[in-house]
Amino acid sequence: MITDTGIVIAFYVIGASTVVSALMVAAVRNLIHAVLFLVITFTGVAGIYIVLSADFVAMAQVLIYAGAISVLLVFAVMLTPTGDRRNAETSFQAPALVLAGLLLAVVVFVIYDTDWRIASRGQFTTTASSLGRAFFSPYVVPFEVASVLLVAAMVGAIILTQDEDEEAGHAA
């Protein structure tokens, strides 16, 4: 249970900034601004992981989401022809609102329905080595399956982006 004053203050500050920037992602009309707010949200989530003393997950969150996924999003926005302009009005607003409300209802229901227990053991001394042991002994099959999936996705991406002219030029 989190009882220390500093941690509680940190949790509320980080949580508030995360939620506000997540709202801004949906509210701002400029797509690039939305991406930048999304980065703040990712970083805020990493901060919450740190509050929960899951430092490895927090660093992975910053490295993968704030560092890599955001760059991917930037490239996606830059390569979209009308990406830089203001978002036009869309007829999907009402359905999206309904969908978001339903999702919120599901999440709230799950939060209240779950039997939250306080773990009896103390905190991990080093999360990185505990995660490593877990990955390589009980969860080795999902871990390997995930890596095979990633390799397949990478090969697929390379094949999709391959230029036929360029290949012919290399063969010649």
């Binding site: 690039i32 930048l36 430092d55 560092g67 490239f75 080093t126 999360t127």
Partner: protein, 457 residues
């Protein structure tokens, strides 16, 4: 691990040779005064932060001088030598000039994004300094995942560069930013893989523990793992935009990269951030590869943080050296170098290191037997791999390359001087001779107003 007896360093708080005495004394005072229990943490965090920010302020001033003087010496120039002894006051004059300058902002710029970019570019380099072990007991924040923290922070630079390029609302700034992002994303892979080999070998991601590992086995890891050192050095110099890879702002070729619209102290912050990041990367190399504050028996006589700063500047000198002597890459060469050479080499290195760790664990051989063997093998492996790669996978060396040039495909309108003189103009003899001479100097044939092919013997 019990500290070895220190011969010269005393426990007095005023002894600057061990700064942890001072913070320990302050913590003691707070405890004696029955201060609140969190005051100890606040005070020690503040002390460390002040120390690091002071160091960075000094670095940003002094490194400008070092950079310009050393590169000047390497290029047979004098460098700045007017202000103060040896030109030492030149950086101060530069800083005052930058502060006085008006901070211009393009009318169509994206205000907040434009202003945040220099700050977002500077912060990661400063934050990295917090997790480094500056001495035996001198880490501001000792993290179990220190290396991962460093990688995470340095991956944020790409986005800061993009915000600068996008916020300027200038297409050249955006092009420059995209070049930098392509480079950063590409070179992150080999640098992460190079550090992964070291994490495997030392069995920890904690930077302080990595230094203790090198102290325990009495060897800097650069000897055991020379190939990751080369890979990390090259890829981090690309990430830092330093000269073999400074395509972002290649002064002699393009307008000025992602910070073309910045002026005044905002530009100064970008300039300082590049130096700060260079020192941060040098500090990482000094910690991980060269043993940080440890140097054989020297750390018993000299405080660890002085040894550490000495190592930082030794690595920084290497960066200045490459900057002063190497010519610049082309963007396609640079990216191909990362994907086709360094990434496969880093993978090969990881396989070798994993096998070595496994052999060491399984046989339980003594370090004195295993480490010299590994040093010999890894040096041989690095040399053979590099030479073989250049021999069999690299492009053939050719003094006069005659492969397809890109400018041959692009239909460039001919320059006025290259056009055949119109008969009605009745150009003088000397005027018509000029284009032919310039074409022969360029080394190509003049065919229909276009340069075709490279120089031929």
């Amino acid at each position: 691990m019990t500290p070895r007896p220190l011969t010269l360093i005393t426990d007095n708080w005023y002894d600057i040779r061990d700064l942890s005495n001072l913070s320990g004394k302050i913590e003691e005072l707070i405890r004696d005064a029955n201060g609140p229990h969190w005051a100890v943490w606040v005070v020690s965090a503040l002390l460390g932060a002040i120390g690091i920010v002071a160091f960075i302020g000094g670095v940003a001033i002094i490194n400008i001088w070092i950079e310009r003087r050393v590169v000047g010496r390497m290029q047979s120039r004098l460098g700045p030598n007017r202000l103060g002894p040896f030109g030492l006051l030149q950086p101060l004059a530069d800083a005052i000039k930058l502060m006085q300058k008006e901070v211009l902002q393009p009318k169509a710029a994206d205000g907040l994004v434009f202003s945040i970019a220099p700050i977002a570019f500077t912060v990661p380099g400063i934050v990295i300094m917090a997790v480094l072990p500056w001495g035996r007991n001198m880490s501001l924040a000792r993290l179990d995942v220190g290396i991962l923290f460093i990688l995470a922070m340095s991956s944020l630079g790409a986005l800061a560069v993009f915000t600068g390029g996008y916020g300027s609302n200038n297409k050249y700034a955006l092009f420059g930013a995209m070049r930098v992002i392509a480079m950063l994303v590409t070179y992150e892979i080999p640098s992460v893989l190079a550090l992964l080999g070291l994490v495997l070998f030392s069995g920890t991601m904690d930077l302080a523990d990595m230094v203790l590992f090198q102290e325990k086995f009495w060897i800097p890891l650069v000897l055991v793992q020379p190939l990751p050192f080369l890979i990390y050095f090259i890829s981090s110099s690309a990430e830092l935009n330093r000269t073999p890879a400074d395509l972002a702002e290649a002064e002699s070729e393009i307008a000025g990269g992602y910070h073309v619209e910045y002026s005044g102290m905002k530009f100064g912050l970008f300039y300082a951030a590049e130096l700060i990041n260079a020192v941060a990367i040098s500090a990482i190399i000094a910690t991980v590869f060269l043993g940080g504050w440890w140097f054989y028996k020297l750390d018993e006589l000299v405080p660890g943080w002085m040894i550490f700063i000495g190592k930082i500047y030794a690595v920084y000198f290497l960066f200045v050296w490459t900057r002063g002597t190497l010519p610049r890459f082309r963007i396609d060469q640079l990216l191909a170098f990362a994907w086709k050479w360094m990434t496969p080499m880093a993978f090969a290195n990881i396989i070798v290191v994993a096998a070595e760790v496994l052999i060491w664990d399984e046989t339980g051989a003594s370090a004195g037997l295993v480490l010299p063997l590994y040093i010999a093998f890894n040096m041989l492996f690095a040399g053979v791999l590099i030479v073989a790669w250049v021999r069999f996978m690299g492009p053939r060396f050719s003094r006069f390359p005659d492969r397809l040039r890109y400018f041959d495909r692009i239909d460039v309108p001919s320059l006025p001087a290259m056009r055949a003189p119109a008969p009605a103009a009745a150009a003088p003899k000397s005027g018509s001779g000029a284009p032919a001479r310039s074409a022969s100097e360029g080394g190509g044939d003049l065919r229909g107003g276009r340069l075709v092919g490279g120089p031929r013997p």
